[in-house]
């Protein structure tokens, strides 16, 4: 589905990603774990083709993604770390991706309602999206992405700073979406969440992928000393 070969990304002098290579298979939940500043967001932005100025090769379904940037963007949708809301109601926000695809309004109504229900947002339907709480906004951001019939969803810290209740709703929904055959790339510094959700995971540090593997294997039996340091470091809490 997705293959990265030797991706390098610089912001001015800052090297955000160094020789990043990885494969993400169709239908899996793939977690990218690492500390703040490790390069998780940058990686997701490249996967979503929001950054096109990078070195290396990015293959989407076996074909060069940069040559078909628009098409790739139509098939992979990113949910940002800080949920940005458009002006207008929750309904308008969730409907946006369908409206720009010229879906007819009955269909929009149906699909949006379904998503609002999935994320328990029904009662906020006509409320101003920017007036919602952080957790509610995060759910709107997810609903707004998942309403689109994409192949891949790139989720950047979907539950950071959320209370357990909101986090639970979101995790449950991520699993449901996976059951529909969708591919999910999840960036998180929450090890436990990655362990709960992911089929496979990669540990990233200072822009480099240190170790990739089945998530059970990676978390229970990390090979690389840096991964061990990251994972066992958590056990002291």
């Amino acid at each position: 589905m997705i293959e990265l070969r030797n991706i390098e990304k610089k912001y001015g002098e800052t090297v955000a990603l160094k020789k990043v290579s990885l494969r993400i298979e169709r239908g899996e939940i793939f977690a990218v774990i690492g500390n703040s500043g490790a390069g998780k967001t940058t990686l997701l932005r490249i996967l979503s083709m929001l950054e096109t100025d990078f070195l290396g090769e990015y293959l989407f379904n076996g074909k060069d993604a940069r040559e078909r940037a628009e098409e790739v963007r139509g098939r992979i949708t990113m949910v940002f770390q800080n949920p940005v809301m458009f002006k207008g109601s929750v309904f308008d926000n969730v409907a946006y991706g369908l409206r720009v695809r010229n879906v007819d309004s009955d269909e929009i109504e149906k699909k949006v309602e379904e998503m609002l229900k999935l994320f328990r947002l029904e009662r906020f339907r006509d409320k101003s999206a920017r007036k919602l709480s952080g957790g509610e906004k995060q759910r709107v951001a997810m609903a707004r992405a998942f309403v689109i019939d994409a192949d891949v969803y790139a989720l950047d810290e979907p539950t950071a700073n959320l209370d357990p209740e909101n986090a639970r709703i979101i995790e449950k929904t991520i699993k449901k979406i996976k059951e529909r055959g969708k591919t999910i790339v999840l960036a998180t510094h929450n090890l436990f969440q990655a362990k709960r959700l992911a089929d496979r995971a990669a540990y990233i540090e200072s822009g480099q992928i240190i170790e990739t593997g089945e998530s059970k294997e990676l978390f229970e039996n990390p090979k690389h000393p840096r991964t061990q340091n990251f994972i066992y470091g958590f056990d002291f809490f």
């Binding site: 963007r73 949708t77 458009f86 002006k87 207008g88 991706g97 101003s128």
Partner: protein
């Protein structure tokens, strides 16, 4: 004695305003009309320029932006002088016949406030541009849809820029005086006297009651416009 002078002026002004002195009303309406036209023209030209400047990336864009920013504070007397030179019968734009006309004042004020509309439009576009572009892009919008979304999201800032521009136009004196000439003939059709020029004139003549009354009207207009803009802003923020 000293305070009597002020109090008498205020008393006279209150009478004039309360009685709706026709001359005052005429001048006030002209002021709003002339500066309103200036604001509309500045919006018609300035908003598209600001949107393009805010959305596009080209060489010289930064320079252009700093030129418009520098022009924000241009002294109105200097602007009035330059316009006078251009619009005077012997000047390069003399053939337009705009000197000492209402339209001439509108034209001059339009040039004065154009940088306000452009600069403020650019900054309201820039303040939402990055976030909204990324979001719309990842949700599958095409270039034109993204552009519309960005403009939609900056609309309240754009409207505020037009209101700020109107306020600057209606309160300026230099252009209205030098290009307009403060012409007033009772019942005449070619009058160019506006609030600021008449205040200046009445003070010079020592008719403080008239000056105060006109000053009050001017402030009332500016405050009303500002209040409306605050209300609109709140309404927009309320649903944003």
């Amino acid at each position: 004695m000293a305070w009597e002078y002020v109090v008498n002026g205020i008393n006279g002004a209150i009478k004039l305003v309360v009685n709706g002195d026709p001359e005052l009303v005429d001048i006030a309406i002209r002021s709003v009309k002339v500066s309103g036209i200036a604001a509309v023209l500045a919006a018609i030209i300035g908003v598209p320029v600001g949107v393009v400047l805010g959305l596009s990336r080209f060489k010289g864009r930064g320079l252009l932006k700093s030129i418009f920013n520098a022009l924000l504070g241009i002294p109105t007397v200097v602007m009035g002088l330059i316009l006078y030179l251009f619009l005077a019968p012997a000047g390069p734009l003399g053939f337009l016949g705009l000197l000492y006309t209402e339209m001439g004042i509108s034209f001059g004020q339009m040039l004065l406030i154009l940088p306000i509309v452009i600069s403020f439009t650019v900054s309201s576009i820039e303040s939402v541009e990055r976030e909204i572009r990324d979001l719309a892009l990842t949700l599958g919008a095409n270039k034109i849809q993204i552009m519309f979304k960005i403009v939609e999201e900056s609309l309240s800032g754009i409207v505020l820029s037009i209101i700020a521009a109107f306020n600057r136009a209606v309160a300026e004196l230099g252009i209205a005086l030098m290009v307009g000439g403060n012409i007033f003939v009772r019942g005449g059709g070619l009058n160019t006297r506006v609030l600021t020029t008449s205040i200046q004139m009445y003070v010079a003549r020592g008719e403080i009651d008239y000056a105060l009354a006109l000053g009050t009207i001017l402030i009332a207009i500016v405050f009303t416009i500002t209040a409306i803009s605050n209300y609109l802003q709140k309404k927009w923020v309320g649903y944003d």
